[in-house]
């Protein structure tokens, strides 16, 4: 009389609910622990990123980069004659259409700096460059187009026995000797 089916059913449901509740509570606790751990990890990572950013900036001090570049790289300062426009480059060999250097290539289009030209014209004593004076960019173009003239082998002050053993590096187009930078003892490993 006391243990009816409905009672059993409710008891079973109750037990299941309790079990489920415990499991969920446990799972939540576990997830919370993982969340806390992850958050701590994120905080630690952010702190590390922060410190590393400072260190990165410290290692990127311009004077340090300059020192390292001077020691390990064969680089030279970029000067005005090294910079040109694409339009000022000589035509490619395939665009030469059979013409040779001897006949003279088509003159490369040179942009005459419109603002500068206009500005000069407004001035009472606008100057024009005399014909003979050197022209850093124009000369570079001209030198590139001229057939490689025999260049005197430049004796650099630092050229020792090792340098003379093999030919000094040359510009592949003009054949002019490339500037030689004195090397340090520590580099010659």
């Amino acid at each position: 009389m006391i243990l009816r089916w409905s009672t059993l059913f409710w008891l079973g449901l109750f037990a299941a609910a309790v079990g489920l509740l415990f499991q969920i509570a446990h799972a939540v606790e576990d997830l919370e622990g993982r969340l806390r751990a992850t958050q701590e990890q994120i905080h630690r990572d952010r702190e590390a990123v922060h410190v590393l950013r400072a260190e990165w900036s410290y290692l990127n001090r311009p004077e340090r980069i300059a020192r390292l570049a001077e020691r390990h790289l064969q680089m030279m300062p970029l000067t005005a004659p090294n910079i040109s426009r694409i339009s000022a480059l000589p035509p490619r060999p395939e665009d030469m259409e059979g013409r040779t250097f001897a006949e003279g290539p088509p003159p490369p289009p040179r942009r005459p700096a419109p603002e500068l030209a206009g500005w000069r014209a407004q001035m009472p004593q606008a100057e024009t460059r005399p014909a003979d004076t050197p022209d850093p960019i124009g000369d570079l173009v001209a030198a590139t187009l001229r057939p490689a003239a025999p260049q005197p082998v430049a004796k650099t002050p630092s050229s020792g026995a090792r340098e003379t053993a093999h030919a000094a590096p040359r510009n592949p187009v003009t054949g002019a000797p490339l500037p030689v930078r004195p090397r340090f003892v520590s580099e010659s490993r």
């Binding site: 958050q39 952010r46 922060h50 950013r53 990127n60 004659p81 500068l116 960019i137």
Partner: protein, 594 residues
């Protein structure tokens, strides 16, 4: 469960009278009614049951409501941090970072630990002091023991420990010592930006530089402060200034690179530099930021402004000229030229050869009033505005007499900061607009509040003149090939502490802008007290000392900033020093008689 019975219980009155039927019912059943003690007991039991039931009902209701409240309505106890942290976001610090215009870190806050002691809890001060001294070798045992034996409950031992020191002290396990997590300011670039960025004290309060002027801002937010400074340009400027200072044995140097169009300061250097990471080691005389806090008589550099003034007021035209053979006598003063020329010089030649006499002549043609008005418009007579503390105000003559007008025209008698000079130069070359200088990066498309200090035509003429000075005049050593540098040399005698001008102490400066066809940057270099060398034929003038600095700076910075070099513009150096073939319209104006 109801009990089945034949007895019908019907409502009765308290005295047993049936209210419905009265007497016998139709089926002949008896009406039974209870009364007396038994009835009373039953009634009491029923009431108690009711009360108990109501209490239970209320209790269950409360539990149910609370359950609903917990389950549905409240989220207390849930960790709410889950949404906020992200590895990409910046760390929350007490003080925001300072960045350069390209995002390089100039100043940041690093977490550190600080060690303190509670001396009353330290059991063995001597042993603890000896152990500590081994980890912190910069402290003596005696001083540590004295600290650990104090009669207080708190004393700092060392602040800003490195992580390694922290770990080692932790391993010592001395009772009474403890750490506080603190934050310390760190400057990755050290002395390079010492004056500009400044530093904070141990409690992270800004002391000088940007740290001081933006103290509140930096403390209040976590967003970095983005300055207009370009780290690379700053390095180039400070490197070249340092080289020149060593070469000419100067006592100091200053330099500014300013964007002529926007007024943004790309580099601002003052030597000797200071190391913000070790402020206690800075000597007292290095604190002065020569670029913004030092006022100097700039010398011939001012002829740029005088010439612009004379052209702007229309007192002279480009083709006018003056006789500069005779020194000008005013009272007991005599105004001479450094390298006297004879005969007539045109206005361009006066600037080219830096003739004091010619400049005085053309200034007097315009008058004192015009000079004051023009210099005020260029911001040379008032304290400039910039995001740095303790900016110096210019030193004006107490009474602006005629002699002051004359000397000020070539840069003596009015002391200004290099910052003002550079800003005025920006106005001269950018079409006449005086843009306020700033150390903060301007946003794209920001509208500038600029005053028109002079007409476009005057600015145009000045650009031509300034380029001429470098092409053919005293500024030849500043001619960076292809970059169209224009500028003016300046050599000013320094004031002697005993009165008058000192013989051998001067300031060599060069004020320039480039590229001169459409000026983008103003470069000012200044060396304090350069000593002449044999190499320079015993000159220590702006043209010898400061102009090469400008040339080197321009050659190094222009490729970085995308200034296109142009061909042409070359000029035969042998012609230098020869008078120009400029048609002169000599009116023969003289002020010598005044």
């Amino acid at each position: 469960m109801r009990r089945r019975s034949d007895v019908r219980i019907t409502p009765t009155t308290p005295c047993g009278m049936d209210l419905h039927q009265g007497g016998m019912g139709p089926q002949g059943a008896w009406t039974v009614s209870l009364d007396g003690q038994r009835k009373a007991a039953l009634e009491v039991g029923r009431t108690r049951l009711l009360v108990a039931g109501a209490i239970f009902l209320l209790a269950f209701l409360a539990v149910g409501l609370r359950l609903a409240d917990l389950a549905l309505l409240s989220e207390t106890g849930e960790p709410r941090r889950a949404a906020t942290p992200s590895a990409a976001e910046a760390l929350e610090t007490q003080r925001a970072e300072i960045l350069d215009r390209n995002g390089q870190v100039l100043a940041t806050t690093l977490p550190t630990s600080s060690l303190y002691a509670d001396p009353q809890k330290v059991i063995d001060p001597q042993g603890a002091a000896m152990a500590l001294a081994r980890v912190l070798p910069e402290y003596s045992v005696a001083s540590l023991q004295a600290k650990l034996s104090l009669d207080t409950s708190f004393t700092w031992i060392k602040r800003g420990l490195t992580p390694r020191e922290t770990a080692r002290i932790n391993r010592l396990g001395i009772p009474g010592l403890d750490f506080v997590r603190e934050e310390r300011r760190f400057y990755p670039h050290g002395p390079l930006l010492g004056h500009l960025v400044g530093y904070t004290n141990i409690d992270n309060v800004g002391q000088i530089g940007l740290e001081r002027s933006f103290d509140e801002v930096l403390r209040g937010r976590n967003e970095p402060l983005r300055t207009s400074v370009d780290l690379r340009i700053q390095h180039i400027l400070s490197d070249e200034l340092g080289k020149a200072m060593r070469e000419w044995r100067g006592i100091g140097a200053a330099g500014i690179v300013l964007d002529a169009q926007t007024g943004e300061i790309l580099a601002l250097a003052s030597l000797p530099s200071i190391d913000p990471n070790a402020p206690e080691t800075i000597p007292d005389d290095a604190f002065l930021n020569r670029a913004t806090q030092g006022v100097y008589e700039m010398g011939s550099v001012f002829k740029v402004f005088s010439t612009a003034m004379a052209l702007e007021t229309g007192a002279v035209g480009l083709t006018d000229g003056y006789d500069v053979s005779e020194p000008i006598r005013v009272g007991r003063h005599r105004i001479r030229d450094f390298k006297p020329k004879t005969g007539m010089l045109t206005i361009p030649e006066i600037l080219l050869f830096s003739s004091n006499i010619g400049t005085v002549h053309m200034t007097m043609a315009a008058g004192t009033e015009a000079q004051q008005r023009f210099f005020r418009r260029l911001g040379l007579l008032e304290r400039p505005s910039l995001e740095l503390p303790d900016l110096a105000a210019p030193k004006l003559p107490p009474i602006w007499r005629e002699i002051n007008t004359m000397t000020i025209s070539y840069g003596h008698g009015l002391a200004v900061t290099p910052l003002q000079t550079a800003r005025a130069m920006a106005a001269v070359v950018n079409g006449g607009q005086l843009v306020p200088a700033t150390l903060l990066k301007r946003s794209r498309g920001e509208r500038l509040v600029a005053e028109q200090a002079m007409s476009r035509e005057t600015s145009q003429k000045m650009k031509w003149l300034l380029r001429l000075v470098v092409e053919r005049g005293t500024g030849g050593f500043a001619d960076a090939k292809g970059y169209r540098v224009g500028g003016k040399t300046g050599t000013a005698d320094k004031l002697d502490p005993n009165g008058g001008y000192a013989e051998n102490r001067r300031i060599a400066s060069f004020l320039s802008a480039f590229p001169m066809d459409a000026p983008r940057y103003v470069v000012l270099a200044m060396i304090d007290e350069p000593k002449p060398t044999e190499y320079s034929h015993n000159y220590a003038t702006g043209g010898w000392v400061a102009a090469p600095v400008v040339k080197a700076v321009v050659e190094r910075m222009a490729p970085l900033l995308g200034v296109e070099p142009l061909a042409g513009e070359t000029f035969d150096r042998h012609e230098q020093g020869q008078p120009l073939a400029i048609p002169a319209n000599l009116a023969g104006r003289h002020v010598a008689s005044r």
